[in-house]
């Protein structure tokens, strides 16, 4: 398959896959890998070219303990109810995200945990105030600054949507953005659920989160305008809070 990618970009993709990049070049490649379709194709081609080298590694015994630690972090969900095989599993994009959400919702409903897992996709935009009036969140997190001043509220609804509402105490440093993170559990890496650069309500993107639960940590860090280049918080966490069940 040929691509219209420039030789320089293709080289960057190759070196990214090879793993030799450092510093700014590496961050640039990570950005492109996240957003640039042509670059993603080039990366996939280089991965395919070099993948056979991974097969030369000597297998190491994989312990049951390691599996248990993985299983514990797949969320507390029980095995899902069987679903029909018709859903296309592939094409990434909003469509897939919606499907994943839908599956996840069914999955949690099946597990009888609807209320606890009001998670996933998020709605909320400027025009949703009317909706908000008739919807009651099942989970709420009040996020506090380091001086314990309320700076934002996260509402999660039973339909699997969630929103972040900034309060007066929320400060966004000039030229920076704030990135919202959900921390799935103890000792787990934060998962980005949204980036805010203005003080207005944000619909959170929960499709990478196994589910919001009571007493889950939500944190906000200061990041570059496009969000963290590494997928993990790179700036200081300035605001955080825990989710609680709304009564």
């Amino acid at each position: 398959m040929s691509t219209g990618i420039t030789p320089d970009r293709d080289r960057l993709a190759a070196e990214y896959v090879l793993g030799v990049l450092e510093g700014e070049e590496r961050r640039e490649a990570e950005r492109l890998a996240e957003n640039d379709r042509e670059f993603q194709v080039a990366v996939a081609q280089w991965q395919a070219r070099l993948a056979e080298v991974d097969e030369t590694a000597s297998p190491e015994p994989a312990s049951e303990a390691l599996w248990q630690s993985i299983a514990a972090d797949l969320g507390e969900q029980a095995s899902p109810e069987p679903t029909q095989a018709s859903a296309p599993a592939a094409v990434p994009g909003p469509h897939t995200a919606v499907l994943a959400l839908w599956r996840s919702l069914r999955f949690w409903r099946g597990a009888g945990l609807v209320g606890a897992f009001a998670s996933l996709l998020l709605a909320l935009g400027v025009g949703m105030l009317a909706t908000r009036a008739v919807r009651e969140p099942v989970l709420i997190a009040v996020l506090l600054t380091n001086e314990n001043r309320p700076a934002a509220v996260v509402n999660a609804f039973a339909d699997g949507t969630a929103e972040l509402i900034p309060l007066e105490g929320l400060e966004i440093p000039p030229g920076r953005a704030l990135e919202v993170w959900a921390i799935p559990g103890a000792n787990q890496s934060p998962i980005s659920v949204g980036v805010v650069s203005q003080r207005r309500s944000l619909r959170l993107n929960l499709d990478r989160v196994p589910g919001l639960r009571p007493d889950q940590v939500i944190a906000i860090s200061v990041e570059p305008p496009q969000g963290s280049p590494t997928g993990q918080p790179t700036g200081p966490v300035i605001i955080k809070g825990n989710t609680s069940t709304a009564l």
Binding site: G19, S58, L66, A100
Partner: protein
């Protein structure tokens, strides 16, 4: 990669099918992938990270990502196994590069005491004779072949390669660059 997949014993699970099941929330399918691939993944991660605890961490995080991201796997863009190992390599390289971790730094001494048999030429020998990669790697000048394999297998950066091969940084970069061009053309 088609050739590689074709060499699998018929008892090997269909990873693409397993990923489809994971995308539907099937935890048992995660276990299927774990049983099939975790040992090799640990081996790959050990070559990159040297320490068992770090390798296990990389594999752990990889499976959590597989669980979360299975729906984004696109079979039209590559093999399931390649996708799985790309996540693993990415995670391991992040541990190697981004995280200033004393547990890595402390280990620089023992890192040099690597098994002598596990060098670049051994890696080439282990590649399948029928695959294009081996044939194409053998076309490279030995020192450039070694640079490519040290980078991919041990996760050395441009700078670390220059140190290991005792050449200026610019030389290491240009070896890698030219070797990649040869590989791309050869494997087209």
């Amino acid at each position: 990669m088609t050739a590689v997949l074709g060499q699998e014993p018929s008892s090997a699970p269909d990873l693409q099918d397993a990923l489809r099941r994971v995308a539907r929330g099937d935890r048992l399918a995660v276990r299927v992938i774990y049983d099939a691939e975790a040992p090799r993944m640990l081996g790959v991660a050990m070559r990159l990270l040297r320490r068992r605890a770090l390798a296990e961490e990389a594999v752990h995080d990889t499976f959590v990502q597989i669980w979360l991201k299975a729906a984004s796997f696109d079979p039209s863009r590559g093999q399931a196994r390649t996708w799985l190992y790309a996540i693993l390599r990415n995670r391991a390289l992040n541990i190697l590069r981004d995280e200033s971790r004393t547990d890595l730094v402390d280990d620089f001494g023992p890192m040099d005491l690597k098994a002598p048999g596990d060098d670049a030429e051994t890696t080439v020998m282990r590649l399948s004779d029928s695959g294009a990669l081996k044939r194409c790697l053998e076309r490279l000048d030995p020192v450039r072949r070694r640079a490519i394999l040290l980078a991919y297998v041990e996760g050395l950066s441009h700078g670390e390669l220059a140190g290991r091969l005792d050449v200026p940084l610019g030389t290491a970069k240009s070896w890698i660059r030219r070797a990649l061009l040869v590989l791309k053309e050869c494997m087209a």
